[in-house]
């Protein structure tokens, strides 16, 4: 229940930020759609995270070997060149991977050719209540959607 409340707050905040971001997002129908999209993706990642992780580990298996226990799929928000939400597979030492709850990322472009993307694995899904970057963990796969 507490987790669901957190997600609703996050989704609402994201939707509000999107509402300011552009004229398209100012449209009420667009905002509601985005809330549903953000909430739906967060929920889908929570429910199907293990399956997505297992699929990725199979797809990235090398000579039939799957490295398990060092990866996990968590929700991701990327801000910069638009706002994207989705899922990220994080990897690192097993005890640190267990600490990661979400990934935040920036995406900045210069002259449309140069791209800079810092990536932050975080220990919470609600950064408003304080967050910490989890050192030693990064991402190995991302799937996200523009909202």
């Amino acid at each position: 229940m507490k987790g669901a409340l957190r997600r609703i707050v996050l989704a609402t905040l994201l939707a509000l930020s999107l509402g300011v971001r552009s004229a398209r997002m100012a449209h009420a129908g667009g905002t509601i759609r985005d809330v549903i999209l953000v909430f739906g993706i967060g929920y889908a990642v929570r429910v199907f995270g293990d399956e997505i992780n297992s699929f990725l580990n199979s797809a990235l298996a090398q000579r039939g070997v799957r490295w398990e226990g060092r990866t996990r799929v968590v929700p991701m928000v990327s801000i910069g060149s638009g706002v994207f939400v989705g899922a990220a597979q994080v990897a690192g030492p097993p005890d640190r991977v267990d600490d990661v709850r979400a990934v935040g990322a920036g995406e900045f472009r210069l002259f449309d050719r140069v791209r800079i993307q810092p990536i932050f694995p975080l220990n919470t899904t609600n950064p408003l209540r304080g967050f910490r970057r989890v050192p030693g963990v990064g991402v190995t796969a991302i799937i996200d959607f523009r909202v």
């Binding site: 990235l60 994080v90 990897a91 097993p94 800079i116 932050f120 963990v137 990064g138 796969a141």
Partner: protein
């Protein structure tokens, strides 16, 4: 035309830098590896000892081999990998093959996790394989390395090559345990975009022991930052 020259120059730069980055990994000193037998709960068990440290305990027979014979086979595999210079702490891993938990050295399966030992310890076979991995890494380091929180964490900058939505080159910051990072030479990225709305990216840290001939994925290492340029 100018753009073509720039692209060629950037590719030439990457081509020059990659072989340097993909230099041969250093070999470490030989390990002392032996197999022993012991009676546990009235039954013979096979023990693999590395540098005086008990690394693997086998209690199940498999494929017509007794636990002691299995331990001897495992010891021979480790000795062979050691002779080839592939048995280093950074090369030790655990994972699954067709759903079976295994201990790996440099991507080579060395031993299947013993389900009976796992059951006795109250853990899963994959957790047992991870425990053997930790045992072997500590033994290879000399057995006296305190590792209460695992290997130290570090970051490193390596070249990145992206394909999919255009060709991009640049640098990536990777992070993970220091021993694994030492083996990481570059990152390969595959990027796909659908109507600028959906994006999928796979980032694979890669290593090699002999130049470009045998690129391997490095497990446990991942990307925390990218800076690249489209060619």
């Amino acid at each position: 035309m100018t753009r073509s020259y720039r692209s060629i120059a950037a590719l030439a730069g990457v081509a020059l830098l990659l072989p340097v980055a993909l230099g041969r990994a250093g070999q470490e000193a030989r390990a002392r590896i032996v197999a022993r037998s012991r009676v546990i709960a009235g039954e013979p068990a096979g023990i693999v000892i590395v540098n005086g440290e008990e690394v693997i305990v086998l209690r199940s027979a498999l494929g017509g081999s007794s636990p002691v014979e299995r331990a001897q086979i495992v010891a021979r595999r480790l000795q062979e990998l050691d002779r080839q210079g592939r048995l280093t702490p950074a090369a030790v891993d655990s994972g699954t093959i067709d759903g079976t938990a295994v201990l790996l050295v440099d991507g080579v399966p060395v031993v299947t996790a013993d389900s009976r030992v796992a059951r006795d310890l109250g853990i899963t076979p994959l957790q047992l394989a991870a425990r053997w991995e930790n045992n072997l890494r500590i033994a290879l380091r000399g057995g006296d390395v305190p590792e209460p929180n695992g290997s130290p964490i570090a970051t490193k900058i390596v070249p990145i090559l992206s394909v999919g939505t255009g060709l991009r080159v640049g640098v990536a910051q990777v992070t993970g345990e220091r021993e694994r990072l030492d083996n990481t030479r570059a990152v390969a990225q595959v990027e796909l975009t659908f109507r600028r709305v959906v994006r999928a990216r796979v980032l694979v840290p890669i290593s090699t022991t002999s130049g470009l001939r045998d690129l391997d994925r490095v497990p446990g290492v991942a990307v925390t930052g990218i800076g690249d340029i489209r060619l």
